[in-house]
């Protein structure tokens, strides 16, 4: 596929960075590429793409089925349309970038983990009209071939140029996501290794004991085929133990490895956490010099072991006794590993820690959001931002606040860790689409503690996994119970070491348990009230350290598997008591499947499935992961993908500028539909919003401003005196919109708010709806007021204040369509407030306004900072000379009349005030309120 004619391979290590340096640092880059391709229709390129919007695709090169798509962001089938994800996955995954030799390299005795750096490639498929930035990465999986699983994340767009020009940022963001995934993966991998080592050691001890017994049995058995087989098996297990220890050592050394990838962005905190965790594990398994401790201990409690079945007896005998139990129960590992293709590979979620997975998804969603829009749009936005950043002195006048964007900018530069920043919100607010039973311990940590037997929690988790995760099993709770009991009996009867003779039902059962096991390896923690509370406490205090907690729990188990068994069965017994004496169940369920998964061997079904129904009867609703979700449905709303039109804006507690879309005509809703994408684009992530309500408001202001464009256009077209109204606002005279109908007044205010200079971050200078008399202080604070007209005593006092302060305000009567304000005869606003404008669309008009206002702000800036317009040039000059020069500048150089000059003077005054404001923002002095004494006239329609 790489040889395909239109594949564009582009790796970062080239001089791309020099070829296209920081696009907004270079002046010539300020020019917007209006015609990317001179010859062709700009829309032709994307016209035959089969998807409607850019999206992110995550694919895997599965060792079983080959390249397959895993998920898309946004997770909406509409996005991809008829685009063949399978085919595209095949294409992007077929770039086998990693010469991944794994296994036993010459000269080393053990399999090696390959540390492969990510690769970044741009691929294209002109036939499909799709181009993609493809980011390949590998994750470790103990069961995978060579321990690695290749994945890739692709940003798929119809515009090749967009990808090429955004390459650096795409690369940066995907690197972040990749690092996040990999950090989680290493953690999970270490955990898995640990578990495997436990299994192996346990198996080893069992095998040894068997061997010992054989030896005791007599020399005639010594050389039997069976004995030889056992010996081989033992040797194999030992070898395997060494191999796995080495793997653990390798994964722990990951961090010390120098990174060749210049784009690798790592979070120091995650790194150190992971590192310490791994080292802890490593220490433990290196120290465990005598892997045969199982043997001795067990021999104490148990006389004879013939086969695995013996353990069952042992369990029964040990029913009463020991109290401690580890959180993980080792399992026997079968020597022969069947290589078959129906084994179940871990999902991406399982490969990475849940937290990290969620954080990565969040990161990718954010990426997808920030790249919405076509190249031109992105480019303009960036130029806009860059320019505005340079114009800090004046851009508070009409531009929306840049504060958050700055942070964004900083964030992309500095090492970023999605997990640490988002850990709280991503667990609580962002449930995975399929609830696959997060770790019960973590759940406990998040939920308010409930006086419940943890057993039921575990079992329920398993159940929910079964029910939700693997729905094809269709195991309702009752099914499960029946099945379990039945199979318990069966296993009891037919238990043997001979795995070949497993009946279909048992197979089913073991498959069930395995499935329930698989999604979350931790769910098989044997429940123990004592330990669990410990762990709960620990995990609640430090969510990230759950693994560490497991380890501590395991300490006991490593040494005393016997006691472990005892407790389990004790618990089982108690469960039976509760149930009114149920069947004795087997604690060891053989997991045989012809497959060779990690958990092959014995799974402790424990008593969980049995106690569960009892608890059910005693009407303890088991806590499940879903209640967490259900409790706060509204919290989920902002996180759900917002392809719906402007949803985040509508549901927001706005700054008082909301435009009720429904009331406006078709045109408006169409506009808002257009603007929808813009809105969502400007909206930051949900977690950001939660964190900073201020920024939230600011962001929404932009959204509203865009929508208000339509309102402003209507206003201008509808009212012949719109120009006068706008002049009032721009020259700093407070405009009161008076009306009886709240909706109408609010709409007018929202539309006119576009013209309020320096409206504040959240529109503090605008009061959308006021129904009480205002005072002078209010006039000083608000430059645009929506006032309720009421015919009542309250109203009369309000109207009294209106007439009293009439010299400071202009009154726009929304009901009678009149405007009372000083006369305006200038020309400056004629262009913006043209009654017969040809502009038909709100967004166009908005941009038109923006450009005019921007122009004004620039003039005001010039005026403010021109020295000789305000101060005498020489000592001999009097103030009249300066005054004359100022007037000359305004009238002749800027061509402004008397009234137009007032606009500029007001803007200049605002700039001055802003500039002189102390950096802390708080000034002891009261704000000034300027006005002038001019007669007002009444304009009628």
């Amino acid at each position: 596929m790489i040889g395909s004619p239109d594949v564009v391979a582009f790796t970062k290590e080239d001089e791309y960075g020099q070829a296209n340096p920081d696009p907004w640092a270079v002046p010539e880059e300020f020019s917007v590429p209006l015609h990317p391709l001179a010859d062709s229709n700009p829309w032709a390129k994307t016209s035959y793409a089969k998807f409607t919007k850019d999206f992110i695709l995550i694919s895997e090169f599965s060792e079983q089925v080959g390249p397959q798509p895993l998920l898309t962001i946004p997770d909406d089938p509409k996005v991809c349309g008829t685009f063949d994800l399978n085919y595209f996955s095949l294409r992007i995954m077929s770039v086998d970038y990693q010469a991944s030799f794994v296994g036993h390299p010459p000269g080393s005795g053990y399999p090696r983990l390959s540390f492969v750096e990510d690769s970044r490639v741009v691929l294209g498929d002109s036939k499909e009209g799709a181009f993609a930035y493809v980011h390949h990465l590998t994750l470790y999986d103990l069961e995978a071939r060579g321990f690695v699983r290749p994945f890739c994340m692709a940003y798929v767009a119809a515009d090749e140029r967009k990808i090429m020009l955004q390459f650096q940022e795409l690369s940066l963001r995907f690197s972040q996501a990749s690092e996040c995934l990999k950090a989680g993966n290493r953690r999970a991998f270490a955990k898995e290794l640990q578990r495997k080592l436990q299994d192996l050691e346990y198996t080893h001890s069992v095998l040894q004991r068997e061997e010992g017994l054989q030896r005791e049995a007599g020399p005639q058995c010594m050389y039997s085929a069976h004995a030889v087989e056992k010996a081989n098996e033992l040797a194999n297990v030992e070898k395997s133990i060494y191999e796995h220890r080495d793997l653990l050592r390798q994964i722990s050394s990951y961090h010390r490895r120098p990174r060749r990838d210049p784009h690798a962005v790592t979070c120091q905190k995650c790194m150190t956490e992971c590192l310490s965790e791994c080292e802890e594990l490593l220490d433990k398994y290196v120290k465990l010099a005598n892997p045969f401790s199982y043997c001795e201990k067990e021999e104490d409690g148990q006389g004879q072991f013939d086969d695995e079945g013996g353990e069952e007896e042992a369990d029964e005998e040990d029913d009463e006794g020991v109290k401690r139990r580890p959180s993980y129960t080792p399992q026997l590992i079968k020597a022969k590993s069947a290589k078959c293709f129906d084994k179940r590979l871990k999902t991406l979620q399982e490969l990475c820690d849940e937290t990290f997975y969620d954080a990565t998804l969040e990161l990718l969603k954010e990426t997808e959001r920030s790249f919405r829009g076509d190249l031109c749009y992105l480019h303009t936005r960036r130029l806009d931002k860059a320019l505005r950043r340079k114009q800090r002195v004046a851009n508070f006048l009409f531009e929306e606040d840049l504060g958050n964007d700055d942070e964004d900018e900083a964030e992309t530069v500095r090492p970023f860790c999605a997990v640490n920043h988002a850990i709280d919100s991503c667990i609580l607010l962002n449930p995975p689409p399929i609830v696959l039973g997060p770790e019960p311990l973590e759940l406990d940590a998040l939920e308010p503690p409930e006086p419940l037997d943890p057993t039921s929690e575990t079992s329920h988790t398993q159940e929910s996994e079964l029910g939700l995760g693997e729905s094809h099993l269709e195991s309702s709770p009752s099914d499960q119970t029946l099945e379990t009991q039945e199979s318990s009996e069966e296993t009891k009867g037919s238990f043997s070491s001979d795995k070949s003779g497993v009946g279909p039902s048992e197979k089913q059962q073991s498959l069930t348990s395995m499935k329930s096991e698989a999604p979350d390896p931790d769910s098989d923690l044997t429940p123990d009230p004592d330990h669990n509370t410990d762990l709960e406490r620990e995990s609640s205090s430090e969510e990230m350290e759950t693994t560490a907690g497991d380890d501590e729990g395991d300490d006991g188990g490593d040494q005393t598997p016997v006691s472990l068994l005892e407790v389990v069965s004790e618990l089982k017994a108690s469960g039976e008591d509760e149930c009114g004496g149920g069947n004795e169940s087997d604690l060891l369920v053989p997991i045989d499947t012809a497959c060779c998964m990690a958990q092959e061997g014995f799974l402790y079904e424990a008593s969980a499935p049995e106690t569960m129904p009892c608890l059910r009867q005693s009407s303890h609703p088991p806590p499940s992961p879903t209640p967490v979700v259900n409790q706060e449905p509204q919290a989920l709303l902002p996180l759900q993908d917002d392809y719906t039109v402007g949803s985040p804006c509508l549901e927001s507690p706005a700054t008082g500028l909301e435009l009720p879309v429904g009331h406006l005509g078709d045109a408006v809703s169409r506009t808002s539909a257009e603007d929808g994408s813009d809105c969502t684009m400007s909206a930051s992530t949900g977690s950001d919003r939660a964190a900073s309500p201020l920024g939230y408001g600011g962001v929404l202001t932009l959204c509203h401003r865009k929508k208000a464009g339509q309102g402003a256009l209507r206003f201008v077209r509808q009212y012949p005196f719109a120009m006068q109204a706008l002049w009032c606002l721009l020259s700093g005279r407070t405009l009161v919109v008076l009306g009886a109908d709240e909706g109408r007044v609010r709409r007018l205010v929202a539309a006119l708010a576009l013209f309020v200079p320096a409206p504040g971050k959240c529109g503090e200078r605008v009061q959308a709806w006021l129904s009480c008399p205002f005072t002078l202080t209010d006039l000083q604070r608000w430059k645009l007021i929506g006032l309720q007209r009421v015919a009542s005593p309250v109203g009369s006092s309000m109207l009294y204040s209106l007439s009293r302060y009439s010299r400071y305000i202009s009154i726009l009567d929304a009901d009678q369509k009149t405007l009372r304000c000083p006369p305006y005869r200038g020309q400056l606003l004629a262009n913006v407030a043209d009654h017969r404008t040809y502009i038909r669309r709100g967004s166009t008009y908005f941009l038109h306004i923006q450009s005019t206002l921007c122009h004004l702000a620039a003039k005001a800036f010039l005026f403010t900072f021109t020295h000789h317009l305000h101060l005498p040039v020489s000592a001999t000059e009097g103030p009249e000379v300066v005054e004359g020069r100022r007037r000359c500048f305004l009238q002749e150089q800027l061509g402004l009349g008397e009234e137009d000059s007032q606009i500029l003077l007001y803007l200049s005054q605002l700039i001055t005030q802003q500039y002189l404001q102390p950096a802390s923002g708080g000034s002891a002095a009261a704000p000034c309120f300027s006005f002038n004494y001019t007669t007002s006239v009444l304009y009628k329609i």
Binding site: V393, L738, T775, L776, T777, Q780, R789, A791, G795, S796, L799, Y800, S801, L802, S803, R804, Y805, S806, R807, I811, D813, D815, Q816, P823, T864, F865, H867, H870, L871, P879, L905, Q909, T912, Q913, Y915, L916, A924, A925, A926, P927, C928, F929, S930, F931, N932, Y933, T934, T935, S936, V937, L938
Partner: protein
């Protein structure tokens, strides 16, 4: 105006009923085009005193004294200590050889007196548990003593030690105190003016009553010094008496009776008996040549030298005038219970009756038509050489009665009001120049943007 706003359904009377003149919104002579609202008080602000060129102190019914920087509008100090409303406040300047330090003396209804340092905000001295609350204060800088008047007259030295005191037998007590030549002081007590003489011997001060002047028919409301030779008093009944400061005899007696002038012109408007407050002299002020009297809701300007009325306006405000000031020989200012401050000009020419404000529409011109009927007293101008008192501007901002104002000349004007606010009125153009200056200073300091 309101009819227009209400859509003609409801006729609000407030505009129509008062025949007061209205200047409209075109005020070219009004240079106060910027204001700052100073918040801090919790109750009516009654007193303002100027401390120096850029500071003033305000005090009121909340017992707080706030010191303000008039240039910036900053609150500099908050003097707390009085538990009840402030009844009198004055500045007390100690002149050393090189420096002069101004302190504040305040009296409160909690029957205490305090001396404050406005620089540090410290309460330097305090005297509590007086027999009665003090209603007025007078500082005699020459003698380095100060006098408090209430039901008793007390003389204090600058260290707040009582020198002597004198009980008086009037019900109302002393309402006003002025200093007269020859170590005399005049105290207004109900309908009488009592002259006391202070005798200083061996650093002890004694006070003796010398004369009682009982020529007023009604309670004396205002008592002022005009110059070294003259002082004036005004009564509730509208009597304005000019006194010789040394001989204490009447030089002129003017009874301001609005009713007289009205009888001929506006009898049809006058309903019922005139309220006595309509001719009460609320406040007197002088610049040595002219006396400006606030008579009811009107203004009355009297020339001391010619002993004749210069100009007057019966209805200068909608409500009682509370404080006045002569800015120059021709400019004056008044504030009133109606919440406005008005600036006036004494003009020689007969008024053109049209203060040039074109472009009124609808009801705005309606209220304007009232304006012409505003000065009804023109017809009774039988006195020769009478001049016109023309409104040149008004300041509207307070929502309650404007109690007092203090002018800082170029730096602005501070008004205080029952709405708990102070407003600092400034010349907007001048302020914006000053800001520009600061801006370029800062620009220079920072070395560019």
């Amino acid at each position: 105006m309101l009819r227009w706003i209400l859509g003609g359904r409801e006729a609000q009377g407030s505009v129509e009923k008062s025949p007061v003149l209205c200047i409209g919104e075109e005020q070219p002579k009004n240079r106060f085009t910027e204001l700052q609202v100073l918040k801090g008080h919790f109750d009516i602000v009654r007193f303002l005193v100027q401390i120096d060129d850029f500071r003033c102190a305000s005090a009121g019914d909340d017992g707080l004294i706030l010191v303000w920087n008039v240039e910036t509008g900053e609150r500099l100090q908050e003097l707390r200590g009085h538990s009840q409303q402030i009844t009198a406040i004055t500045t007390f300047t100690c002149n050393n050889e090189v420096t002069s330090h101004t302190s504040l003396i305040t009296a409160s209804s909690d029957r205490s007196l305090s001396l404050w340092d406005p620089d540090t905000g410290n309460r330097v001295q305090t005297i509590s548990d007086l027999q009665s609350s003090v209603k007025c204060l007078l500082v005699l800088e020459r003698l380095c003593v100060w006098v408090s008047g209430g039901e008793e007259l007390c003389v204090w030295n600058k260290d707040f030690q009582l020198q002597c005191h004198r009980q008086n037998h009037s019900d109302t007590g002393i309402t006003a105190l002025i200093e007269l030549p020859k170590n005399c002081i005049a105290a207004a007590m109900d309908k009488e003016i009592v002259i006391y003489r202070l005798t200083v011997c061996d650093s002890s001060v004694s006070v003796a009553e010398i004369r009682r002047l009982s020529d007023h028919q009604d309670q004396i409301r205002a008592l002022i010094n005009i110059n070294d030779r003259l002082f004036a008093s005004g009564s509730h009944a509208g009597e304005l008496v000019l006194w010789d400061a040394i001989e204490w005899n009447i030089l002129a007696y003017q009874h301001i009776l609005w009713e007289e002038s009205q009888a001929s012109t506006q009898t049809e408007i006058r309903m019922g008996a005139p309220k006595p407050s309509e001719m009460s002299i609320q406040h007197l002020t002088t610049n040595g040549k002219l006396i400006l009297a606030a008579v009811g809701s009107g203004l009355y300007v009297y020339n001391v030298e010619t002993k004749a009325v210069v100009t007057y306006r019966k209805v200068a405000h909608d409500s009682n005038v509370l404080h006045t000031m002569l800015l120059s020989d021709s400019e004056l200012m008044s504030c009133s219970e109606d919440g406005s401050v008005r600036m006036w000009e004494i003009q020689d020419l007969p008024p053109s009756a049209e203060p040039a404000s074109p472009g009124f529409f609808g009801m705005w011109s309606f209220s304007r038509s009232n304006k012409q009927s505003g000065p009804p007293s023109k017809k009774v101008m039988d006195i020769p050489n009478i001049r016109m008192l023309e409104l040149t501007g008004d300041l509207i901002g307070h929502s309650g009665a404007v109690q007092m104002f203090v002018s800082f000349k170029e730096n602005g004007l501070v008004t205080c009001s029952t709405d708990h606010l102070l407003i600092l009125w400034k010349n907007g153009e001048q302020q914006s120049q000053l800001r520009s200056q600061v801006l370029f200073q800062k620009l220079e300091e920072k070395g560019g943007l």
